[in-house]
């Protein structure tokens, strides 16, 4: 079933993009409604997962442009991630909590396109080729967006640490 196979991926993508839990839940529901309405248009020759992620990406960026929810601050990093992390990945305790909070908050300052590219590349670990397919962009543009995003986040972190 589609919900079992893809809902977690879509919800996490929406949460990483919006930074707001309830907003991400609503977005996930809207994306699945769109998915069921567009299933007839799916070309069986194409990669379903990439097709679905493109649909999700388009919906998230369109809604972002309409509502500009980035003006609201993102949820506190600890609110949902800390409990999940403590139980799932205790081995990563070495990475400092403070940096993660700053980076999570810093995602808000990236443009929607750069933020989405960063989510796909550095959080979800997709290849540049997959991202190019999902974003419908040339490979070079994807790489330059990732460079820009990493540089912006590194500078944010550097500035915060130097304060």
């Amino acid at each position: 079933m589609l919900v079992n196979a893809y809902s977690k991926r879509i919800f996490n993508m929406a949460y990483q993009f919006t930074g707001a839990y309830e907003e991400a839940e609503d977005m996930t529901q809207e994306i699945f409604m769109k998915l069921y309405n567009s299933l007839e248009k799916y070309d069986f020759g194409k990669n379903f997962s990439a097709w679905l992620l493109t649909l999700a990406k388009n919906h998230l960026i369109d809604q972002y442009r309409k509502t500009k929810w980035e003006k609201k601050s993102r949820d506190d990093f600890n609110e949902h991630y800390l409990s999940a992390e403590a139980s799932d990945r205790p081995e990563e305790g070495a990475i400092r909590e403070e940096s993660k909070k700053m980076i999570w908050e810093g995602l808000r300052k990236l443009s929607s396109e750069v933020r989405m590219t960063m989510i796909l590349r550095d959080i979800q670990g997709k290849s540049y080729q997959e991202i190019a397919e999902i974003m419908s962009l040339p490979l070079g543009t994807v790489k330059s967006r990732v460079n820009r995003g990493r540089l912006q986040l590194a500078k944010i972190l550097k500035e915060e640490k130097e304060k």
Partner: protein, 165 residues
């Protein structure tokens, strides 16, 4: 190389995507520029931190909302399969021809001419009907006159041979 150029190369440097010459240039710059070296270190940290964001589980409420979407869609979907029944095909074909005729009339640039010719035909039809009515009336009158004559003639006939006086 200037710091701006080095900054652009830091991300591909981290991913080992630079050619040997660019790589050497970046490493040589990093040995002498503390600011760019610090930036590289923060970039590494950023990359590691992003990769370590855990995946969240969905709440039961959201799962319930997602599971009912296909049912909701089915409930509001109108089933039009009955239109494909063979028995309905002549009706649908006739309806299609009718629609074509109507659209031919509605979108014809010479619609006024069609109207005029239809009017003419309708008037011709009316006048023929009126003539038929008129003929029928005169025929009825004639029948009435014949009836009166016959009655008068019958009265004049004396079946028993008696004098009228």
């Amino acid at each position: 190389m200037k710091c701006e150029r080095i900054e652009e190369l830091l991300s591909p440097y981290l991913e080992d995507e630079l050619d040997p010459e660019e790589r050497r240039a970046v490493e040589s710059h990093l040995r002498t520029c503390q600011s760019c070296a610090a930036l590289l270190s923060f970039m590494k940290k950023t990359k590691e931190s992003l990769a370590s964001f855990p995946e969240l589980e969905l709440s039961d409420g959201l799962l319930d909302r997602l599971y009912i979407i296909p049912e909701k869609k089915r409930r509001f979907q109108i089933n039009l399969d009955f239109l494909l029944q063979p028995a309905l095909q002549p009706i649908l074909a006739a309806a299609t021809i009718l629609m074509m005729m109507i659209s031919f009339y509605l979108f014809n640039p010479n619609r006024q001419n069609i109207n005029n010719s239809v009017n003419r035909q309708v008037h011709l039809g009316y006048s023929k009907i009126e003539k038929l009515y008129a003929k029928a009336e005169s025929f009825t009158d004639n029948l009435g006159a014949y009836k009166d004559n016959v009655l008068v003639s019958l009265k004049k006939i004396n079946p028993f041979g008696e004098n009228e006086d």
